[in-house]
């Protein structure tokens, strides 16, 4: 089924090594991976397996030690810092576990700060931001608050709005519910599901099975390789079969 889809990101022979003085640690090596357009890809793995490192390498946020990444037909591994910045603002949206909203700005301003990068039509950007805030259930009064004045869930949903304001090719989410309680997590995941259903490609790192169920494809990273690749199909809330399939996959992976 995957073979029918358009490849959005293609990583070839990827290697990532961290050096500290004379010691080095290889996170992954000879890694090949294709990410498809429209997929909600979940990256799982044990702590320290390199799942976040892999995701950030694919997004251009971090540079691999060697290998190539072709993203939307562009080899981003050849880009310099500023070229990467321009590429990221058009193609990537990021959602972080720590949320990382700008503290001295309201939620709306956080979103418009990102929006200003890709459009000079301020009215249009504000209109889209309002629609997205509505989509993630953040009322106008909350939009004007600082991130320190709202709940973690609201802040994270605002973070998602910021990530998608420029209609990126992919939203990269690094354990977006890691710091949230279950109610807030649910609300945030619902937003991701909504976005996916609207055709948004998403890559999400998580170690939470419930979160992983939201994706249609689950990759398992182990020993510096994509150890397993599981196709779950699109998320349906009441589908127990998907959960069973994921359980089996994870057991097989040694989770």
């Amino acid at each position: 089924m995957s073979a029918m889809k358009e490849v959005l990101i293609s990583a070839k022979n990827l290697k990532k090594e961290f050096r500290t003085g004379e010691t080095s640690q290889t996170i992954f090596e000879n890694l090949d991976l294709d990410i498809y357009k429209g997929d909600f890809t979940i990256i799982m793995g044990a702590s320290g397996a390199g799942k976040s490192t892999l995701m950030y390498s694919l997004s251009g946020m971090d540079r691999p030690t060697s290998g190539s990444i072709v993203f939307s037909g562009k080899e981003i591994t050849k880009y310099n810092d500023d070229e990467l910045a321009v590429f990221k603002r058009k193609n990537c949206g990021f959602v972080f576990q720590q949320i990382y909203l700008l503290e001295k700005m309201s939620l709306m301003d956080n979103v418009l700060t990102a929006g200003a990068l890709c459009s000079d039509n301020k009215k249009e950007v504000i209109q889209r931001a309002k629609e997205l805030f509505e989509l993630v259930n953040i009322p106008e009064i909350t939009q004007k608050k600082f991130s320190t004045q709202v709940s973690g869930g609201e802040a994270q949903r605002a973070g998602i709005v910021r990530a998608v304001i420029n209609k990126p090719s992919v939203v990269f989410a690094d354990e977006p519910t890691g710091a949230l309680n279950s109610n807030n997590s649910e609300a945030v995941l619902n937003v991701f599901t909504k976005l996916h259903r609207e055709g948004q490609s998403i890559i999400m790192v998580t170690h939470d099975k419930k979160t992983a169920l939201r994706g249609n494809r689950v990759l398992y990273v182990r020993d510096g390789q994509i150890f397993g690749d599981c196709n779950l199909g699109n998320y349906v809330e009441t589908d127990n079969e998907r959960e069973r399939k994921l359980d089996e996959f994870l057991t097989e992976m040694g989770w």
Binding site: S52, Y56, A85, V86, Y100, K144
Partner: protein
């Protein structure tokens, strides 16, 4: 102490760059303060020591030998307050010293017999050539060093139309006269040379009375004046310890004033810097402080850990600054020796060192403690959670969805308003430093670009040529010169002396003061009629405009109405102005005024002098190239001013550099996460650099421009203050708006370049590192 040692070392290591910058600003302050203190503590003492060593009289007056009586010495000795007195003969002459610093200097000179025994006003021979000649002369240190005369050099004194050429056989230090500002100099001739010389000028021989007193000098001077008046004796010259000291130490006092003002301004900058840094480091280290408190450290221990590094840096930088200042002192000492007319060594001064270190340490301690004391109120748990008033935003400035304008511009404005503290700091520092720059640029404009403004403030009338005609030819020459197309105007002008209130006062008499090039009158009007007089600033307290004043010259009494007040830096306000008729009324003989010649083109001076000398060889006594003298004075001041301007400008840029360094570094540390977020959402390095520079540069640009514009108001006041201290009640210094703007532009450009260089580390902030660290 042991308990806070590790904290102290941690703080010092963590913020090395900021401490170094702060230390350099303190070092500059310490250099200036120590220079000021050493001058303050030592020059005055050196002056008094030398004064006492040479047993210099408190008052010296001269009277014509023809009027002197044998009993006068005893009469003076019997005056109340006189401890001792002695008298000696001298020749008093209005002389022109030729080739004095490559020009001709007009100087009232008293020629003494060097070999006559003296108990008072002793001479300290600094250099001497063995073997006398028939024209040997010993010059005072001031004439030798300032006039650029060395041993064996020839010096020509022109008295009337006679030129006397002497050979410099020695250089002496004396404390009786001093420098040109006093308007009176001494010259010392060996016995044989003096006798020959005094024979030639027997009519100009005077008797000098040197009077010692420990009492009130002014009161005694008045008593002496009364005594001489009673006896019908004219006092030709008078100088006293106070006014001589004021004149000789004027430049030194000015330097102390300027150095202290600079030091205060830079000190202001440094305390603001440390206060700013501490406030921010409390924000940055909030969690650590909370942990320390949770571990049981007291608030005072943590405060000590924050304050002590600044105190240590201050003490170290102060000591270093004091040491560095001693490298500058010999040069400064030489410059002052030249101006003060006596040599003195500036030695290590423990008092200065203690004052500098104590003042800086106390001020820094006070400001750092004030900034750090809120640590005491920190609740450990709140601190550990990073909750502080400063960290959380209070107001969302310029909401992007509600405010009209480009989002990127609004982002810059948001940052500007969100970071109020550093913008206030930058505004304050830039404003204050621009005052220095505005002052320096105005000095530069008036000394280098429009030198007449400066020179005319310090001088009296400034023609290009002064012609001394033979009696009866003044009108003929004047009329003929006026018809010369290269000559702009000719003015009959005379400089002389009268006694006012029994004190000798320099006279400026002119045929028409409305035509002078340098109007000295700062209050009221110049005299126009025969019975009018304008008095020098020294008389301003005693007389007011409209008062009548009786002046007696020998047997001729005249009454004048005071029309105004005039300034004179060179004679400390002891001057007056008459119309030519008015001055002539005081003289028994017909006055032969000199002719002040003003040219259309000053560069023609030499040529016109030649023409005048050729055309009127038998009708003139002498000509003087006054233009050259003006230029020499101007050159001297240009050099000093250029150095001052360059030093001020470099200091300003250096301080701006250090302030910006600390502010930008603080911003980079504080906003590291924010910048990482911006990068993560796609902002480029260039965008972030522009955004950051845009957030703080406007405050310094506005401050520089505002301060420069306000310079039109405050610079004249600063100039007024400074020039008044040296007796120039009205200064001709112009404030050029264009020049202020040029310097402001240079300053802004320098700020911009420094900002760009300092914000480059933004490139090193990686969004990924932020996520990894987070």
């Amino acid at each position: 102490m042991k308990k806070i040692k590790s904290q102290l070392i941690y703080n010092l290591k963590k913020d090395k760059g900021s401490y170094i910058s702060f230390g350099i600003v303190v070092l500059i302050t310490a250099i200036m303060l120590n220079l000021a203190f050493v001058l303050l503590f030592q020059v005055d003492k050196a002056y008094d020591d030398k004064f006492n060593e040479l047993n210099t009289a408190a008052i010296n007056v001269t009277v014509p030998k023809l009027q002197n009586t044998d009993a006068l010495l005893n009469d003076i000795k019997s005056l109340n307050g006189v401890d001792d007195a002695e008298c000696r003969e001298a020749v008093f002459a209005e002389a022109v010293v030729k080739d004095f610093r490559a020009t001709d200097f007009s100087m009232n000179t008293l020629f003494y017999n060097k070999d006559e025994s003296r108990n008072m006003n002793k001479l300290d021979i600094k250099e001497e050539k063995t073997g006398m000649t028939e024209n040997s002369i010993y010059l005072p240190l001031y004439v030798a060093s300032f006039g650029e005369f060395g041993l064996n050099d020839e010096i020509v004194y022109e008295i009337g139309d006679t030129k006397h050429t002497f050979k410099v056989s020695g250089i002496v230090e004396e404390m009786q006269y001093g420098n040109y500002g006093k308007g009176l100099m001494g010259a010392y001739l060996p016995k044989e040379v003096y006798e020959k010389f005094s024979d030639e000028y027997s009519e100009q021989t005077v008797v000098e009375y040197s009077i010692m007193t420990n009492g009130d000098i002014n009161a005694l001077q008045n008593d002496i004046s009364d005594l001489l008046e009673e006896k019908g004796i004219t006092m030709l010259t008078s100088c006293d310890r106070i006014s001589t000291k004021d004149t000789r130490t004027m430049v030194c006092n000015l330097i102390i004033l300027v150095l202290s003002a600079f030091a205060i301004i830079i000190l202001f900058v440094s305390v603001f810097l440390c206060k700013f840094r501490i406030s921010n480091s409390i924000e940055e280290d909030m969690v650590n402080m909370g942990v320390l408190k949770a571990l049981g450290y007291t608030g005072n221990m943590i405060i000590a850990g924050v304050v002590l590094p600044y105190l240590m840096v201050t003490v170290f930088a102060s000591l270093l600054g004091v040491a560095v200042s001693y490298a500058v002192l010999p040069g400064l000492g030489e410059l002052l020796t030249l101006q003060a007319g006596f040599s003195f060594g500036l030695d290590f001064d423990i008092k200065g060192l203690i004052c500098v270190v104590a003042i800086l340490a106390v001020i820094v301690l006070f400001f750092t403690y004030t900034a750090a004391k809120r640590i005491r109120k920190l609740q450990p748990i709140n601190a550990i959670r990073g909750n502080s008033e400063g960290k959380s935003a209070k107001k969302n400035y310029f909401p992007l969805d509600e405010t009209k304008g480009k989002t990127k511009l609004l982002l810059v404005m948001k940052q500007t308003f969100s970071n109020g503290k550093q913008n206030i700091l930058l505004f304050g520092v830039s404003f204050v430093l621009t005052i220095l720059v505005a002052f320096a640029s105005t000095m530069f404009y008036n000394v280098i670009i429009e030198p007449d403004n400066f020179i005319s403030t310090l001088s009296e009338e400034m023609p290009q040529i002064i012609v001394s005609p033979v009696e009866q030819y003044e009108d003929v020459i004047s009329d003929e010169l006026k018809s010369n197309s290269e000559i702009k105007s000719v003015l009959k002008y005379t400089v002389g002396t009268v006694n006012i209130d029994d004190m000798p006062v320099t006279v400026f008499a002119c045929e028409d003061f409305s035509r002078v090039s340098n109007d000295l009158c700062y209050l009221g009007e110049n005299p126009d009629e025969k019975n009018e007089i304008a008095l020098g600033s020294a008389f301003e307290e005693k007389y007011k405009i409209g008062d009548r004043i009786e002046i007696q010259n020998g047997d001729i009494p005249c009454s004048y109405e005071v029309t105004g007040f005039v300034q004179s830096v060179n004679y400390q306000g002891n001057v007056c102005e008459f119309s030519l008729d008015g001055y002539e009324a005081l003289n028994s003989e017909k006055l032969v005024p000199t002719l002040y010649v003003y040219l259309n083109n000053a560069s023609d001076t030499e040529k016109i002098i030649d023409e005048i000398e050729q055309s009127y060889s038998d009708k003139i006594v002498s000509t003087m190239n006054y233009q050259k003298m003006t230029e020499t004075t101007q050159e001297m001041y240009s050099g000093i001013t250029s150095v001052i301007v360059v030093v001020i400008f470099i200091l300003t840029i250096l301080i701006v550099l250090f302030v910006l360094y600390i502010v930008i570094k603080t911003l980079l540390v504080q906003r590291k996460q924010e910048l990482g977020i911006y990068k993560a959402i796609g902002y480029s390095n260039k965008q972030l650099m522009v955004q950051m520079i845009g957030s703080f540069l406007p405050s310094s640009v506005v401050a520089v421009l505002l301060s420069s514009v306000l310079g039109l108001i405050y610079v004249p006041q600063i100039n007024q203050l400074i020039f008044q201290t040296i007796g120039a009640m009205k200064n001709n210094m112009e404030v050029s708006f264009a020049f202020l703007m040029i310097f402001a532009f240079v300053q802004i450009t320098a700020n911009l370049i420094i900002s760009i260089l300092l914000t480059k580390p933004i490139k090193k902030i990686s969004a990924y590192a932020l996520i990894k660290e987070g």
